[in-house]
Symmetry: C3
Subunit: 652 residues, 3 copies
Amino acid sequence: MSQPAIGVCYYPEHWDEQRWETDIARMAEIGIAYVRIGDFCWSRLEKRPGELDFSWMLRAMDMFHRHGIKLMVATPTAGPPRWMLDKHPDMVAIDANGHERRFGSRRQYDFSHAGYREECARIVTLLADAVGQHPALMAWQTDNEYGCHNTTCSWSPAARVEFQRWLAARYGTVEALNLAWGNVFWSLEYNDFTQVDLPNLTVTEPNPAAQLDFRRFSSDQVGTFNALQVNILKAARPDLPVSHNYMGRFTEFDHFKVAETLDFVTWDSYPVGFLEMGDEPAEAKAQYLRQGEPDFQGLHHDIYRAAGRGRWWIIEQQPGPVNWAPYNPDPLPGMARLWAWEAFAHGAEVVAYFRWRQFPAAQEQMHAGLLRVDDQPAPAYHEAKQVIEELRLTGIAGEARKGRVGIVFDYESEWAWQIQPQAKGFTHVGHVNAVYVALRKRGIDIDILPPTTASFAGYDLVIIPALFAWTDALREAVTSFEGHLLIGPRTGSKTGDFTIPQNLAPDLPSNLLDVKVMRVDSTRPEHGVAVKGGGTAQLWRERLETRARVEIEDEEGFPVLVSQGKVFYVGASGDRALVQRIVGQLLEEANIVPLALPAGVRCRVRGGFRVYVNYANGVAHLAPAPDEAGYVLGDATMPAAGVTVARLATPD
Amino acid sequence: MSQPAIGVCYYPEHWDEQRWETDIARMAEIGIAYVRIGDFCWSRLEKRPGELDFSWMLRAMDMFHRHGIKLMVATPTAGPPRWMLDKHPDMVAIDANGHERRFGSRRQYDFSHAGYREECARIVTLLADAVGQHPALMAWQTDNEYGCHNTTCSWSPAARVEFQRWLAARYGTVEALNLAWGNVFWSLEYNDFTQVDLPNLTVTEPNPAAQLDFRRFSSDQVGTFNALQVNILKAARPDLPVSHNYMGRFTEFDHFKVAETLDFVTWDSYPVGFLEMGDEPAEAKAQYLRQGEPDFQGLHHDIYRAAGRGRWWIIEQQPGPVNWAPYNPDPLPGMARLWAWEAFAHGAEVVAYFRWRQFPAAQEQMHAGLLRVDDQPAPAYHEAKQVIEELRLTGIAGEARKGRVGIVFDYESEWAWQIQPQAKGFTHVGHVNAVYVALRKRGIDIDILPPTTASFAGYDLVIIPALFAWTDALREAVTSFEGHLLIGPRTGSKTGDFTIPQNLAPDLPSNLLDVKVMRVDSTRPEHGVAVKGGGTAQLWRERLETRARVEIEDEEGFPVLVSQGKVFYVGASGDRALVQRIVGQLLEEANIVPLALPAGVRCRVRGGFRVYVNYANGVAHLAPAPDEAGYVLGDATMPAAGVTVARLATPD
Amino acid sequence: MSQPAIGVCYYPEHWDEQRWETDIARMAEIGIAYVRIGDFCWSRLEKRPGELDFSWMLRAMDMFHRHGIKLMVATPTAGPPRWMLDKHPDMVAIDANGHERRFGSRRQYDFSHAGYREECARIVTLLADAVGQHPALMAWQTDNEYGCHNTTCSWSPAARVEFQRWLAARYGTVEALNLAWGNVFWSLEYNDFTQVDLPNLTVTEPNPAAQLDFRRFSSDQVGTFNALQVNILKAARPDLPVSHNYMGRFTEFDHFKVAETLDFVTWDSYPVGFLEMGDEPAEAKAQYLRQGEPDFQGLHHDIYRAAGRGRWWIIEQQPGPVNWAPYNPDPLPGMARLWAWEAFAHGAEVVAYFRWRQFPAAQEQMHAGLLRVDDQPAPAYHEAKQVIEELRLTGIAGEARKGRVGIVFDYESEWAWQIQPQAKGFTHVGHVNAVYVALRKRGIDIDILPPTTASFAGYDLVIIPALFAWTDALREAVTSFEGHLLIGPRTGSKTGDFTIPQNLAPDLPSNLLDVKVMRVDSTRPEHGVAVKGGGTAQLWRERLETRARVEIEDEEGFPVLVSQGKVFYVGASGDRALVQRIVGQLLEEANIVPLALPAGVRCRVRGGFRVYVNYANGVAHLAPAPDEAGYVLGDATMPAAGVTVARLATPD
């Protein structure tokens, strides 16, 4: 793999054509290697139905080419022009309350609308025809940020019809559907697939199995919508990779499954905005106000590295204050550099800043760019330039090192617990994040494992937190695994049809682990119960029936952690202390020696280098790790927002 | 009256027919005497319109009969099948925001929809024909939990037409309606009943009189819907009693009025879920997390005993964790037994647990049963068995003893103050509950008195808190009463037409009590004013004009409690201390000697026995009361969730 | 100008005609000079379409005339009768969620509905014909409380068509609109004005420029609706003044612009209700529970004095507890007097209490009047009488003294920051209020300056806080001003088209002030940064590029206040301490000597008198100011709710 590089997003259509040359020359001058164009320009490609104009885009591409910059061209389908609505008045999505999602911003389209799909196929075909052979073109992007603003699901007539078809394909007969969903309950039985309504606006909650199938269907609609574009682009240029830009904290569709038709994935990383919008505790919001939460980026890098089968970019990197959170802090000086370095450490090929110059009008006018509205450099301009120089200096390259620890992450599990939390706030992501953070504070490199993983070979420890239902692959992986396993809580507590397994959770072969969840005690977080030896079980406490070894029990005498050989089951959600304690015990069992990192510092190994980043507000002092052979960038004393790169004594 | 008994709810249609025999034999074995079946099985009785099948139900009934178990059969109308919607697309209720309440859960029907009423009449007739003569049948239940999920009111076209008819019947002429509602205000006058709209989606609040009439109408619709079924069932089997299962904390319809056509009432008691969903203070939620609020059950027992004119059951008793609250704690061991005993102490004939076995699919899959999904006993199985044995042992029977204290409870008053709280959070229920709790902590047996009570004879003290408007009956009862009366706050502050009485509140004959409410000071609870001698007046402070004796005044010199002979008027809402103080004073005036109960312990007398239950988290020590002649179950040292039964020296 | 006077609102149609004479005689007896009638009586003027009856109103007017009381007659258009809906089913407004705003309360009409406008023109013409020549008539009021209950904006088909017309008139071509709004962004371009939708129900936020134009349009619709009535009334009686009653805290339409067609303005002052409904901090809600926030009334008096070009009334003055807040406290004895005196001090011509007698039915039944429902005097009756006597006694008259300090207040700025707060809670009103309060605590008389002010001549200090965009007038005023100027934060940060100025905020000629806002740090209020020398910068901190003098900087070294000559720019929102510090510094620079007022006391000068009012809960002690020549009412020791009037040594 070649050396990682810096890119930027540019919208030629936003600026007078006479400014293009200056802009592009300036990019080339500081070493920007990649530029993304094209997203949201449909009204300029096709001002009125059939009135096509690709000439301006080609002129811009020529200019980039002259300056040696490579281009990713995005399809413009995330922003259908207003005339589209006149052609297809029912193309807009319907929200869960039955309201139309109207024109006037973006992503208003319904994934299930056949007419709009045809329009997309048409414009993508035309785009591929028009610019697909351009020498500056090196990759495609489909659409933009699927799922943004909760747009994955639509409760429209079009979605209803497609959902019925999807169900018919899945179940074959309506009797099979009734059985799978348990529709005998409350007389919910259907006589016919055409009777199936979307699960919204019901008196009390709809059947969880119906809800989950609707979520699966909605995710699949994103997949087929995306595949339609990929197929056209691949037909035009089989040699060019196709990507899509994912977002942070979005779980409405299965990013692993959608990525199966992509060559690589990108994501849009806005650390400060994400922290402000998220549900992190107030202390974290105060402490990391201008940096973002230290593990949020890493977790997403690792998820999307898994989704891209190793190949991924940041295509939109926050450069300064954004506009879309309730509050939009100015990042700490140096963070635009730190975020890029951290992404590279996790294996990013390219980090592209969003956007070249702040646009003074419309919705994102308060969103910073590398340049200000008055064309002067904003702080990130200088930081981007610095990263370009440092990449050259260090010569970092190669792949992110494979971790010794894997964590299973599963979109369906996230949907399942949103549908049926049983304890308010119980989520899959929350449980994955808790173990991720506990490991990352100890300097452990992690790989995220999709639910399609059929073997855990090569890992010393695999953690499967709050998994909804066993997939065939995971069952196989678990059964054949020779390393240490940490499972639970709530893992395997449902069948794929969202019923309780006849044999009760965690539904493992009893020779693997003799434990049954008899029932669950779900309580407000403040009603937690102390655990003997330290930590608190809270929110979710399973009553376990077990003949396995009880490793940890709570002050009321209920087992919290049980084990049988190398298989551990945890039957409760824990506070930070309990999770760290359990993770610590498992690392020890698995002979994985953690690093002693200062608070706020994280690190990851790539291509023979260990990159340290300092999210703390003050100076941090590194203790050199035994496997390191000195620093190639920065040193042991890291300022706030500092980056230090150590060379490993023995490369991977 | 025969001895009370234990029952359970069972859904034969949920299970393979070959499991029925085992299940029923097991019930019989531990002594379960009553089983309810039938609610929500419409799609199995009538798979498609007219395609009827009662055979499976009859086979199940035969089996119960063979095992000596008596059956309550519920009509299936709370869960119309999906095909009903194809026949009657407009049968669904419309919520206050104008949204359809769609198929996919339950209770989606509109009480005012004539077509659906006909369908109900049809299926109930067919059901009565098919199973009405079965020897195991001992009672009916109509529908299930009227009002659940806020389903009493519908803002549909059907409801609008029926409301207009209801108004025409009530007022005769539109001029009378305009006058009663004060429609000259804001030009709200109608020319015709057909102009009357439902009171939703207005710019600011609708006329309170219009809102109250809509609430009365909606309640009456439940009544006529219910009566339709009762009449059919009575026609088929005049000898069998008909019941309906009420819920906790539901006040949307007048449970007294609806019960007038029932032979007895039942209710569904979920103490832990109710506490979690309720607005009790955080301390109570923490302290009684696994028990439920100690007075919540008692209050409902007493209300529904009044509604059933003495005859009532628990038809659904929480057996373990439920699924429908944000958090669903595991009850303390012993609570399933305690709750049953407490219900029996208040006069219940039967306590039936919900349900026999946890159903692994659909919406209630996380709701415990007596058996787990894997068919093993859950804790409540053993506790139910224990209660059956203890009932036999103690021989408790007879009726709940008539109290010396009565409290007037009135659904219209609850609606009135929801419509016009004037101080946010001012409710009728809240004021009733405050005096109820203050009395129950002192071991006082209470009777709840409906607003149709025309005489208070037999009581030593009657309390009328926050009564919206005097009914003719209550005016008569008050005037002729010779015991002590505690009235207010806000009692009698409106006419039945929701206007302020010309003579101002409390609108009593001035020879009874010389007091007028000049105006009201309504403030946030935190802005309360201390009361001389102890306690705080808060939320609601009336400015009284009075020549009666001022018993208590606040620190600002405003009268809080005034009296004239045995009639006391309280002009403020109080904190717990003030309410306890006033209640204490009235008990003393009325010569009612309280019991000294440990914190968390409650008791009630039935059939010569006093049953004590311990809601506290630790051991409680009873002081034997002077009227007791020793314990027949448990003793003076009560563990958490303990039950102690004392025999009275002199039975009632 | 003649002496100020007391009035009252009366609804003859609410009472039996035989009570009118007693009521009116009683008003005359205590000296009530003005009465408003007519608002909301449409159903009595026109019971059915075309069935007109003005006779009762004329009889009432005759009776007032006999008692020497002058009348303001309001048009009844704020409460269209129910039959109007049958004539014009689509006359109701549609809220932002797409719901109809139905009949049943008031203000349900859509300002853009042509049919309803015609009906209004018709009834106003008929009213003017019927009563316009009556000798008791001295003024008109159009409609009632435009904008109440968020009724300024409607998202109806009628509004959509009118909005398109308004845009066509503003922009001429759709290309100009696309350019102004920056519609190239996200492919938001229109081909035609008929494509423009209202900016609601979009997926994410609509274009801020579109939103602002919709707010401007909606405000203009109020203006043309009002002008229609004014023109008819003026045609009938060119000599009579026309007014409209504004409300407190309403900013949905431009009150300055709408007032341009009025002869004077009135407003409805409910100090206790406003505080309860507002977002004032909890301490203020506790401290001023029974008084209202001390500066709320003054600010509105000053805004509406500006709107009325000096001529204004209170037409509805709170007399006791109201009904429309979550909690409705009883005002402190004396407040009904204090509020009237304070209004007179700010220049009010008339203060009229709302209403004569509490109406026992309908929505406002819990709203106090001067008389109780039982016809006995409520406290405000006596206080109104006292004010009448005191006005006579003191002989106060003349105009409110012109202030030395002016503050620019601008409705568009309020809309702009609601549309794009960038920091949640950032408002124009909040910034205006902060400096207003800081000045008023120091006893400074203030004039509010509309954005049409083209000269600041006569002021020593002008403050322009958080102004959205420079108007031509203000640019001129700023450039030619010779006094001290305090500008910012955020002032001049947008063009009128809602784009960032090419030269960046504050967009002033650099010879006036060399400062540029490079970017903004927006943070939660709790993440403020201390300022060197005292106070905290919070919520909004601009990163300034400047060569001007740095007066104040924060602990992180960022400039907070910079100056160049007499022009000061503040680049941050401040806590109370910082705002007071900056205002204090500016007063000193401008040689304005503040008064030393006790906490809770405010004062204002009118016609040679300084009126002090005491909002505090206890006694306040005044220090006589050097320009005073003794007290004509009250003295230096002011009780709670006290009023003291000092005579100035030298009248204005």
